[in-house]
Amino acid sequence: MKQILLITDGCSNVGESPVMAAAHARQEGITVNVVGVVDYGTIGELGSREIADIAKAGGGISRIVGTPQLAQTIQMMTRKTVVQTIQQAVNKEVKKILGEGSLEELPPLQRSQVVTVVDELTETTPLRIALLIDASASMKPKLGAVEDAIRDLALSLEAREGKSEIAVFHFPGRSSSEEAMLDLDWTHNVSQVRSLFSKLKMRGATPTGPAIFKVLEHYRYDTLDEQRERPTDDGYDEKEGMIGGYVV
């Protein structure tokens, strides 16, 4: 299962539309969640609408919070999205078997069994989360809190039974040709989340859309790499097949 978590504090102003980028992500099976971080003042109507739209296009959820709630919020969003994605897949299977109906309409005994499967998969499905951090000038005072929140998320993921990895990007990159920069490549090790943004040079622009595309590229590139390494692997992206196996 793949997710992108975008953490930002305002509107994009350069390049392709982030909503379109999120729609592309969804098309490739990657859910996009968005957190707007606001400590002083408000995020503005435009900003908050964009945040909601990106999440909607990316099949994820969005929240606007202050830095004190950041860690708890991204934790909750990640978990909720994992559960949702699995529930959707399971519901599809349930429909296939029973013709009609969702979880809510199942009689108690069947429902209990289905939820057991959902719980099991929530814990064991391999999970990859790319964190995409807005590092425009106004975000600077919040980056400490962002890093703490990332470390806290990594700690929670480490406790999962399934393989869980995170990668961290910030945007914009060092030059105008670089949409986003990779700070930390796929890792399951909490101790690697340390002084991620210490050497950052803040720049004004907010190319949210191009940055999302860059992360998609990284996902794609990495998948190719994986296939080269293990050509006959049963593939841990075949979520549907796996779930079918559990339910039947």
């Binding site: 708890q72 559960v83 529930q87 979880l103 809510e104 309409e105 009689p107 108690p108 429902r111 209990s112 939820v115 057991t116 959902v118 719980d119 814990e123 703490d148 470390r151 806290d152 700690l155 929670s156 480490e158 406790a159 999962r160 039974e161």
Partner: protein, 314 residues
């Protein structure tokens, strides 16, 4: 969090089950948990009162019901082996859906009369901690023996009756041993203090229990320790707090729990029982003989002497 904005059901609302048909009359709201709202209800036409939890998130609530069900069945198995009555252990009564506009899932459990742990100790005094702590540890040990971790242990999730019986409420955070902890509260979470993983093991609950004790005995100190920067926050701060407690036996028990030093909750319960629960009371009583008792004793001595004098005189 849509469910939180829902207005509570007024008293007299009848919640009827779609599948099993039982009807429950709402008496009043008891509280809100992470996954739903809990009401005090009466089964229609009967006298018994129950607690009924109702929530919108079918999946989360069902997950909680699943934990309670498997807890119940493993308890029954153990009690069956021990040839005991299992009347007290039936915590979960039934689960069903309430059909209003949508189907809203609910479940019915035993009603535990009492107040949250922190209110109980504030009212009755910290000297109850030895007994209530033991009762609570026994509950945790039981849960662990059934293969579950409670997870979100905090004073708000412990109800204490007037006579010191402790009961865990809100199993929304419970998960099987070895799985990741589902729900937790910052202060009580081992990961928050950089003191270990969020994998549910017996020591996770014991750590939360130790923080719970610190919170009950020195909330200001705990607040100050939690205000540190996340990177520098550590269990050493909590150990320092524990060391500063006047009761040395309690403080060394807490230190061990904070460092994850107990082999399990059974050993931790035994240690609490022998060092904290049973040593506390006699110590207290011999030290503090009330003044009126001393003067009464002196008076009775005087009367004795006078009587002897009186008897021998005549």
């Amino acid at each position: 969090m849509g469910m939180l904005s829902n207005p509570p059901y007024p008293a007299g609302t009848v919640i009827s089950g779609k599948w099993r048909g039982n009807r429950y009359v709402v008496e009043r709201m008891l509280g809100r948990g992470a996954n739903g709202t809990v009401y005090l209800v009466q089964r229609q036409g009967r006298r018994e009162r129950y607690a009924l939890k109702i929530g919108n998130d079918t999946l989360e609530l069902q997950s909680e019901i699943n934990v309670l069900t498997s807890l119940q069945s493993s308890r029954k198995r153990r009690e069956h082996r021990a040839h005991r009555e299992s009347a007290l252990s039936s915590y979960l009564l039934e689960s069903d859906d309430f059909k209003e506009d949508d189907s809203v899932p609910f479940y019915v459990m035993r009603y535990v009369e009492g107040r949250p742990l922190h209110h109980f100790l504030a009212k009755n005094g910290a000297s109850w901690l030895g007994l209530v702590g033991l009762k609570l540890l026994e509950k945790l040990r039981n849960l662990h023996e059934c293969g579950f971790v409670f997870g979100d242990l905090k004073p708000e999730n412990v109800l204490v009756s007037n006579y010191g019986e402790a009961e865990l409420i809100d199993y929304g955070g419970a998960s099987p041993l070895g799985r990741s902890v589902k729900q937790f509260t910052e202060w009580h979470d081992r990961g928050y203090w950089n003191a270990g993983s969020r994998t549910g093991d017996e020591n996770y609950d014991l750590f939360a229990f130790a923080v719970l004790c610190l919170r009950l005995l020195n909330e200001e100190g705990l607040k100050a320790a939690a205000a540190q920067l996340p990177q520098t926050r550590s269990a050493d701060e909590l150990v320092k707090l524990a060391r500063s407690l006047p009761d040395k036996k309690l403080s060394s028990w807490l230190c061990l729990a904070l460092k994850g030093g107990f082999p399990g909750s059974a050993a931790a319960t035994e240690a609490w029982k022998t060092h904290i629960y049973s040593t506390r009371k006699p110590g207290k009583e011999t030290m503090a003989t009330p003044g009126w008792l001393k003067s009464a004793f002196a008076l009775s001595l005087f009367v004795l002497v006078f009587t002897i004098y009186y008897v021998f005189r005549f």
